[in-house]
Symmetry: C2
Subunit: 306 residues, 2 copies
């Protein structure tokens, strides 16, 4: 790529697109099949969903799709799926923050949803966001081939479900103050945070009808950056302060949760991170210059400060 | 229909099929895309999902499909969607029973999930059941045409989401000890219980690729029996005792919740119920004898004792 590529601008531009798409879906107009959109749940969903955030998962999805030079309709579909993925990510934060779960009062620098509203509203808004994700992938107004939409719903539900993200959260809660083996920690993290990041990258390929080979390649790229993301997160939890993170930090140690960083130390983690980024970047080799955004995303994820 | 049709046997037979399908999906074997199925969440999902129940929604779905004389593959797909629908219904019960919501300790004669396990597990198992529903509709092992699966995911997510079931629960919670107009009560009930019953009937038509006209007819049938279901429920709440219901009763009045029955009285409700059943049965007229199970279902729902 001869022209300089500005990662931060591109990330912000994609985030704006996703935010607009989500705001549009939550404009309060019932779609066919919807009866009434109660103001309180709508407002709670907007509070949780439109509260900023880097939108890294949508970015990965849209940049993975861009590798395959999609036409305008396919690009629009990638945005829909990216917005759906953000609904799932957001619902998981809302439910994880609940008193019965991680009991967090602060998220992205603002009161968590159950503090700003109440617990019942937070549970329901989370349920509604999870449900909305599948609505957005199958919205009759989009033209994506039904085969691809079915594949997306299937992959997304398995990444997010009891064999993926939700299962990871279950293991995490059940393991507080209990010793986890290194293998168990890796599994937990692959499920809790890795599955959605892997889906983000794989979904870009599915949306574009990529070959199984390319889909697998993107899936492995997503897996590598998922591991990097978690290591970076564990490092941050050890060192960052709340002002930078916009949420409570140092909680893993407080709760007696082992992480790979607490097992092996920060230096080991930095070395690992470099290896993961190298491996991820190598997977992108066949895509040439078009993969520059994803290359930089790998570095960004490994080195992020919050 | 010349042979006598035994409604109760047919209902029980369908329930057994659904229970087997669900037990099979929760057999603990990870499907492609699933990493590990943590025993605790698997066990909680099984507790909630395989705890009996009449499986009236799956029955309606399968009998609606049967109107269109499906081949064996389509019949199997109807069972998959019926099982998915039961996942959604069950997750809604699990979350509604939570302390922050209706705070119920008893369900189908057994401790509710958050009592039998804990609150966090109940939240996560509910999330997992909701997610699993969409997985089951799009399972790559089923042969249903992608167009139909997409239509099913779309209709199901809108029936279950913030413009349907979840939205209805939000209105319900927000309206405790507040006066609701008759129109508001009707809307609340159409969302909270009506939307999934309507989907059940409509989905039978979608699975079979029925004409838009027949799909609309089944949808209206589902709407009518949804109204009947709710009236019967309100009557039961007024009169039944906990031993028959297997759950706490008389709670609507305790909470100052108005129902159509509390507004208009039991006699009015019985007259309404007869009118709704007649209207529902009339909608089935074009299907002739094949509609006998659905006809009896309408009567069963209106006259149920628990």
């Amino acid at each position: 790529m001869d022209l300089p590529f500005d990662f931060e601008s591109q990330l912000a531009a994609r985030a704006t697109l996703v935010e607009r798409r989500l705001a549009d879906r939550l404009d309060g107009t019932p779609r066919p099949g919807e009866i009434v959109l109660p103001p309180r749940i709508l407002s709670a969903m907007r509070y949780a969903l439109l509260g900023g955030g880097k939108r890294i998962r949508p970015f990965l999805l849209m940049e993975a799709a861009a590798l395959f030079m999609p036409d305008a309709d396919t690009e629009a579909a990638a945005l829909d799926v990216a917005a759906a993925l953000e609904c799932i990510h957001t619902y998981s934060l809302v439910h994880d923050d609940l008193p019965a779960m991680d009991d967090d009062a602060l998220r992205r620098g603002r009161p968590t949803l159950h503090i700003a509203y109440d617990e019942a509203t937070a549970i329901l808004a989370g349920d509604a966001l999870l449900t909305l994700a599948f609505d957005m992938v199958t919205d009759p107004s989009t033209s994506l081939a039904p085969e691809r939409r079915v594949a997306l719903v299937s992959a997304l539900s398995r990444a997010a479900g009891f064999g993926g993200m939700v299962g990871g959260q279950m293991i995490d809660l059940a393991s507080e103050n209990r010793h986890l083996s290194e293998e168990e920690i890796v599994t937990l993290q692959a499920m809790k945070t890795g599955a959605l990041l892997r889906f983000a990258c794989e979904a870009g390929a599915i949306v574009c009808g990529a070959t199984p080979d390319d889909r697998e390649r993107l899936s492995r790229f997503g897996e590598a950056i998922g591991l990097a993301f978690q290591l970076a997160d564990d490092l941050l939890d050890l060192t960052a302060d709340e002002a930078v993170m916009g949420k409570a930090t140092g909680k893993d140690a407080d709760r007696g949760k082992a992480t790979l960083v607490s097992l092996h130390g920060a230096e080991w983690a930095h070395t690992q991170l470099r290896g993961l980024v190298d491996a991820a970047v190598e997977l992108l080799e066949p895509f040439g210059d078009r993969a520059e955004p994803l290359r930089q995303a790998a570095g960004f994820i490994a080195n992020r400060r919050n």
